[in-house]
């Protein structure tokens, strides 16, 4: 019953989306407010039915109804409740259902909070949202129905892949999807602007918070996934330049560029045409990611060719939306008026530079990810493009970007003073040089690039602090005055500083982890005491334990520093009987922002166990950085300007508003 109800709710959501896709546009053409407002109610109803459908699948998983194929293949009655729930999106069908539910959620949010939008813009935006939604509802109903029943219901399910039975699955995919799908809003706004042939600073004021929300989630989602891979895979890698990761990095890079160009548009009414293009590209890259991961084209071009239904369907959606929106762009973009002028050295100029490097970085990832696929299809040659390629091509793009980053916020709009900005960054520069000199002295004969990279990171962080110091007048005026001013600064200034500092923090983490990581790999017997990174780890022994749906071997290590015991670490290996597979549960010991990392390998015939111990200095900064960035995003989002919202248009004007 529940499965059928869920299925039916999904069909109703599709029907609502189809209405929402057509009626509001007709309404806008006829200037009929009633027809335009249909979008609002259908978007909310669509959210209700998509939500019901998703809730139905969750209930089926929770109640372990193995007569449903999706539950049978991905669940097990003994599985802990939390993994029964997260297992809903731990598979193709369920994750697509989550995708459309989040899409419906964003549509509902625009409908619910978009009261101050001009009604024709809102009608168009919601209609475009409905086009996307209809395509994906169809995709699910035709090729990936999660509510299919089995003829002879089995007693027990096949269980979820053990690697996915982790708290990471509860958080990472929903975050990532909120990011990916969130960009659909900027896309819909861009397409709506193109259809209407009208765009102004107020448009950017609406688009920016939505983009920011999506960006915050995507930032956290990527960081979360990276940390998950780090502790789950068992050798402490945190980024692999895998196509799946690249698929999430590309929208992030484009989205970051979009955030910055939307600032220019909002403040200065410039870069309109470019901002529209970026909004289209960002969501297109989200769709591309969906295609890459969902079609199976990554595993092999041939796997795609042998079971093409899903892949071809997504490819069609991809061509339709990307091709369609770009055609619309080519056709209508020239109708949009160019905005304000600015000198090359100016805040706008700095943001354009940011966009140039971010989009090139995005293009690099795009080329590196798709080139092998294209080459294989065209010539049949198989090549590999992996981490060494990306490290070599991607890193050089970030060096100028990060060098320029502290200058941007210190430059004035329209025409900036680069010398003045340089003078204000003097302290940051000196701090960077000091850091480089100290590191060189300390690691004599060690890596030469690492101190330079750390210096760059210190410069970026110092620059973010300098910006706040400058704006609050600290060091120039009395402390209480400066503090009051600092509190009075727009939140978006604080947001910028936090987000920029976050980038520096990530860089420090990456450099320290890759350069000064120490490792110990050996077969250990009880009472062996290896020394790693200043810590002594004594293997006390190995015990067996029974979990809810697995058995595990647990090794116990006593960690001592200078003979003083500080902690006990218990890495384990789990065997999942249902799937006959196993996972490594690494043990992590956090000291400050550094970590000790212990994972287990095979047990030998002589009772010795393969052990890998790493000391990873400052590794946690790699994930604190994105958290700082996201926090900066939140601060910006809470800026007064965005909270209060755009001013209401005057009755007489055609919803055209002044920039400031």
């Amino acid at each position: 019953m529940i499965a059928e109800a869920g299925h039916y709710a999904l069909v109703l959501a599709l029907a609502l989306a189809l209405i929402q896709a057509v009626v509001p546009i007709v309404g806008a053409r006829l200037h009929d407010p009633a027809l335009m407002n249909v979008a609002r109610s259908t978007a909310l109803a669509q959210l209700l039915f998509a939500g019901l459908s998703f809730a139905a699948l969750v209930m089926l998983h929770v109640s372990s109804d193995f007569s449903v194929v999706n539950v049978f293949e991905n669940s097990h009655s003994q599985k802990p409740l939390i993994y029964k729930i997260t297992g809903v999106w731990g598979n193709h069908e369920g994750s697509m259902l989550l995708w459309v539910s989040i899409l419906a959620l964003f549509g509902g949010l625009v409908a619910g909070f978009g009261n101050n939008l001009p009604s024709s813009l809102r009608a168009h935006v919601l209609a475009v949202q409905a086009w996307i939604a209809s395509a994906f509802y169809l995709f699910i109903l035709i090729t990936s129905n999660p509510f299919l029943r089995l003829g002879n219901p089995p007693i027990e399910g096949r269980d979820l892949n053990p690697v996915l039975q982790d708290i990471g699955l509860a958080v990472h995919p929903p975050m990532l999807y909120l990011g990916y799908v969130g960009f659909s809003i900027s896309f819909s706004f861009a397409v709506a602007a193109l259809i209407e042939g009208r765009i102004d600073a107020a448009w950017a004021r609406w688009v920016r918070p939505w983009t920011l929300v999506a960006w915050i989630f995507l930032t956290l989602g990527i960081a979360m996934g990276s940390y998950w891979a780090y502790y789950e895979l068992g050798w402490g890698g945190w980024w692999f330049w895998d196509p799946v990761e690249n698929a999430s990095l590309m929208p992030w890079l484009a989205g970051t560029a979009l955030l910055h160009s939307a600032v220019v548009m909002e403040k200065r009414n410039a870069l309109k045409v470019w901002t529209i293009l970026l909004a289209i590209l960002t969501f297109s890259l989200s769709l591309l990611g969906t295609f890459l991961v969902r079609s199976g084209v990554l595993t092999s071009v041939h796997a795609f060719a042998t079971d093409p239904t899903r892949g071809v369907f997504i490819l069609l959606i991809l061509c339709l939306f990307i091709g369609g929106s770009l055609t619309l762009y080519a056709w209508r973009a020239s109708a949009l008026k160019q905005g304000g002028l600015f000198a090359p050295i100016s805040r706008e100029g700095a943001l354009v530079l940011n966009n140039l490097f971010l989009t090139t970085a995005c293009a690099t990832v795009f080329i590196g990810t798709l080139y092998p696929l294209a080459l294989e299809v065209i010539t049949g040659d198989k090549i590999s493009v992996g981490a060494p390629f990306f490290n070599l091509t991607f890193a050089p793009l970030f060096v100028p970007l990060m060098l320029a980053m502290p200058f941007g916020p210190l430059l004035a709009w329209k025409r900036g003073d680069i010398v003045g900005a340089g003078q204000r960054l003097m302290a940051a520069g000196v701090a960077a040089l000091l850091a480089i000199a100290m590191l060189w002295a300390w690691t004599r004969g060690g890596a030469t690039l690492a101190p330079l990279a750390i210096g760059l990171a210190v410069f970026v962080i110092g620059g973010a602090i300098s910006d706040l110091v400058e704006r609050s007048g600290l060091l120039r005026v009395a402390l209480p005055v400066a503090l009051r001013r600092a509190r009075g600064l727009p939140r978006s200034n604080w947001g910028t500083a936090f987000a920029h500092a976050g980038v520096g923090v990530v860089l420090i983490g990456i450099v320290c982890e890759t350069t000064w990581n120490s490792e110990y790999i050996a077969s250990m017997k009880t009472d062996d005491v290896p020394q790693v990174g200043g810590y002594a780890l004594k293997l006390d022994g190995i015990t067996q334990r029974q979990g809810p749906n697995f058995r595990e071997n647990v090794a116990q290590f006593t960690v001592t520093v200078d003979g003083r015991p500080i902690s006990v670490m218990t890495p384990s290996k789990r065997n999942f009987t249902t799937r006959g597979s196993s996972t490594t549960e690494a043990a992590l010991l956090t000291r400050g922002v550094s970590q000790l990392y212990v994972s287990l390998g095979e047990t030998g015939a002589d009772g010795a166990i393969a052990v890998r111990i790493y000391h990873k200095p400052l590794v946690l900064l790699i994930w604190f950085g994105p958290v700082l960035m996201a926090f900066g995003g939140l601060l910006s989002l809470s800026d007064r300007r965005l909270r209060i919202g755009a001013p209401k248009p005057a009755k007489s004007s055609r919803a055209l508003q002044p920039a400031e």
């Binding site: 892949n161 895998d242 595993t299 091509t393």
Partner: protein, 165 residues
């Protein structure tokens, strides 16, 4: 987006034999210098049955064989380049995670710098065109003689120049 990294993680584990992760204790060479060379080379070589993993990271049996092969060649006195050539001769270009610059990889290597250069040139051209068209347009730039005189008067007057912040 499947489950992002989880998909990757699952794929990696599904492919390899369970439980053995990357470099094993018994593979490590006694000479730390040679071992570190072997590790560096391993990071550039692909485990061909895996999805985009280097043999240094992979737990597949093939990756282990390749790791042992690399160490064998290093022990035999090969230079890094010779080891790579040996593996390419045996397994083809596919084994390299960083493709060599050849006619069929020309675009791969050239497109990123071209994208940057092209973007830069496009910006420059666009900026000049905007500036020129703005220069012809009296409303935004360029002052008439009268306005110049007026401006001079103003500047000479009490107006202090406030630096932009």
């Amino acid at each position: 987006m499947k489950f992002g990294f989880a998909g990757l993680v699952a794929a990696m584990i599904a492919i390899g034999t369970p439980a053995a992760y990357a470099v094993q204790p018994d593979e490590i060479m006694s000479d730390p210098g040679k071992e570190s060379r072997a590790r560096d080379l391993s990071r550039e070589l692909r485990c061909m049955v895996c999805q985009n993993q280097s043999i240094d990271d992979s737990d597949a049996p093939l990756a282990r064989d390749l790791r042992l092969l690399v160490r064998e060649r290093i022990a035999a006195g090969d230079s890094d380049a010779q080891v790579m050539d040996f593996l390419v001769a045996r397994y083809g270009e596919f084994v390299l995670l960083k493709p060599r610059l050849k006619p069929h990889t020309l675009l791969l290597w050239l497109l990123p710098p071209l994208a940057l250069a092209g973007g830069g040139v496009a910006l420059w051209v666009h900026g000049r065109r905007r500036a020129r068209s703005a220069g012809q347009d009296n409303s935004t730039a360029g002052l008439s003689a009268d306005e110049e005189i007026q401006l001079q008067k103003l500047m000479a007057g009490e107006v202090s120049s406030e630096p932009p912040s």
